[in-house]
Symmetry: C2
Subunit: 106 residues, 2 copies
DNA sequence: TCTAGTACTATGTATTGTCAAGTACTAAAT
DNA sequence: ATTTAGTACTTGACAATACATAGTACTAGA
């Protein structure tokens, strides 16, 4: 899969998934993987960055199936950011798709 | 505009525009700008890269309105690449859009 | 002669995704 | 008892690509 296409989009996907309900990192990796192919080493840095920027709050919870899980909870700022990004993506993708479709017909 | 979303997509747009007919750099900047906001200093490096990779051939032609123009012509390899990239973009964008639409409803 | 528009090049920087390796816990298989 | 697989997270070096800025140079009109 084209790595470049994912830039910026993964951040949007992570925000939207955590917005649904609190998630821990490993769960996020699997959830995002269902949409686009993605590497473990890609998601964790995004989570750290989004937390540093105040979009997520975190807390720990024990698990019976393995080590402690770090859960991510979206903040009001994160909600706002997900809306901004979602809007930007929608505008961007439809501009590109409109052109691309016209290009195919010729 | 979100810079990250453009990664990889500009290459696709440039390929599709040059595929229509031969273009020179400055013309490309204007054509791409109609689709997504883009900087001059972004397009020229893409043209150089795509030429180095054998997707474009170039030739010079004089102009009455300014300095010499460098025209880009797509090669068979470039045609192939534009199809590959277009397909990858279409699959990618629709995966993301399908998820994103589901996410909005909730 | 100056300015605006056209046309291309070069360089340094920032962002972000990938890869690889490592740590560590639990549960099931050998 | 030990190994293996699955879960869970961290870190650091690396690659790709868009941007900003500056510089060169040509033409035409004020």
């Amino acid at each position: 899969m084209n790595t470049q296409f994912k830039k910026g989009v993964l951040e949007l996907l992570v925000l939207l998934i955590v917005k649904e309900k609190d998630r821990y990192g490993y769960e996020l990796v699997e959830a995002v993987s269902k949409i686009v192919d993605v590497n473990e080493g890609t998601i964790y840095p995004i989570l750290k960055r989004l937390s540093n920027e105040g979009y997520f709050e975190t807390y720990l919870e024990e698990s019976k199936e393995g080590p402690v899980r770090k859960y991510y909870h979206i903040t009001a700022l994160g909600m706002k950011q997900s809306e901004v990004l979602l809007n930007e993506w929608t505008v961007f993708a439809s501009s590109v798709n409109d052109f691309v479709k016209g290009s195919v017909k010729k």
